[in-house]
Amino acid sequence: MLSKGNQNMKLKSLLLATIFSTGLAAAHAAEGELSIGTEGEYPPWSMADAAGNVTGFDADVGNLLCAKLEMKCHFVVQAFDGLIPALKAKRFDIIISGMSITAERKKQINFSVGYAELANMFVVKKDSDLAGVKDIETLLTSLDGRTVGVQAGTTHAHFMEKRASSAVLKTYDTLDQMQIDLASGRVEAAFADSSALQDFLGRPDGKDFQFVDVKVLSTFDPTLGEGIGVGISQENTDLKARIDKALCELVADGSIGKASQTWFKTDISRPCQ
């Protein structure tokens, strides 16, 4: 049996038969500039336009954080399930992308304190028999054999795999794709955070749909995380301390709560413990 390192070498040399690594360490961002990885396709958290400008709650949190740290913000857009690998490859300094803090992710990267938490919910057609379900256990058992859409690599996907493994899970790279399939009837239910689904219900193609009145919180199952945090690479302990302090202040003075009101019409900020 080959050791892991050995295999690593073999595959890399095979893929890059002629490209050699130069031994240079990856360059760090310029001093005084903070580069932030975000998804860019997750309204109202993170929306990127054709020119690459990012708006949304994540962008607001990023800008508030940069102002507090007296640094210049620079956003980098990256698909959600590639954010952690890209952070580890030093493509950017931190992740702000509505990312929940989970045990699995903590093995890969560090997180700041949780600064927000949002309920996770299901959306179904108004005439679905699931529409009237009121408690979570009934809901999870009645998903048996039904198709449910989730976004790939999210806590929602991991939660479904763990708690509703008898449901047929469809994973999508983006929420848009999931919503297109929900609207066309290819999936019977979608599971995501309530803000993202609220956005869908407000669109023309969401008019025949509604929430199932069950709020799934991280207190119900720890796979759903410990709130939403800023992802920081494990080597960068100094930055983590500064970000934690800044976030706690921003939550305490109500700045994050205000940004939350703008985008979600409700305060989802989570006080520091």
Partner: protein
């Protein structure tokens, strides 16, 4: 209007798609160029049967040609590829800002794929050169390097053109796969537009037309090169 032609025009998506097409072409050309370098190197190794190296080349070409391109792209995308950062730094992408990182991963992945196919084309072209030509040149006492430059390389180039045309067509189509790593090329532009306007049909239809235009125009280009390189014989 169900098709959403108006939304495509109004949202400024046409220019986003054209920008994407430019990136697709740049990506295709860069990958093809690196792939051709890999192809000539590995093709020569295979043709000359340089012993331990042929095994490595065989392994490389059979794995890359047998495993789906998408899986190879996922490998490079998900692994915390420090070497991509290093390669990028070596080429002067210091901060890895914007599209530089995604572009580098994409070029590495597509060039590795295109290189494997180029290797076979080059090897085939080298094998098709009549051995009499090389023997005659040796008999005339022409030095080895000049034999390569005057006899082998020109013939190889000419024989390899149709094969390289095939590799190019495959390469330009393979670039669509890197839309999954988030590079803003043609397919990604269509993908984002389709998601945000909820009119996927028109966006993918336009993307298909643009790809078709690229492949047809480049096909014409290759036909022209082939005509130029055809040996002039007396009738």
């Amino acid at each position: 209007m169900e098709l959403g032609l108006w939304q495509v025009w109004e949202g400024g998506w046409i220019s986003a798609i054209l920008r994407g097409a430019a990136i697709t072409i740049a990506l295709g050309m860069a990958s093809m160029a690196f792939g051709a370098v890999i192809g000539v190197g590995c093709g020569l190794i295979k043709w000359a049967r340089i012993f331990p190296l042929t095994l490595a080349v065989d392994f490389y070409t059979s794995v890359v040609r047998g495993v789906p391109e998408l899986l190879i792209i996922y490998l490079l995308f998900f692994s915390s590829v420090e070497f991509v950062a290093r390669v990028a730094a070596a080429f002067g992408y210091e901060g890895l800002a914007g599209n530089g990182y995604a572009f580098t991963i994409a070029v590495v992945a597509i060039a590795a794929i295109s290189g494997a196919y180029s290797t076979e084309v080059v090897r085939g072209a080298l094998a098709a050169i009549p051995s009499g030509h090389i023997e005659a040149a040796r008999a005339l006492g022409i030095p080895g390097r000049r034999i390569f430059r005057r006899i082998i390389a020109p013939q190889m180039l000419r024989i390899a053109v149709p094969g390289m045309n095939n590799v190019w067509q495959t390469t330009i189509k393979d670039t669509a796969l890197v839309s999954v790593v988030g590079l803003q090329e043609l397919m990604r532009a269509a993908f984002v537009g389709a998601g945000s306007t909820r009119h996927p049909f028109i966006f993918y239809f336009i993307a298909a037309l643009v790809y078709l235009a690229i492949t047809l125009v480049s096909q014409g280009g290759f036909d022209w090169i082939e005509r130029i390189l055809r040996p002039r014989t007396r009738k």
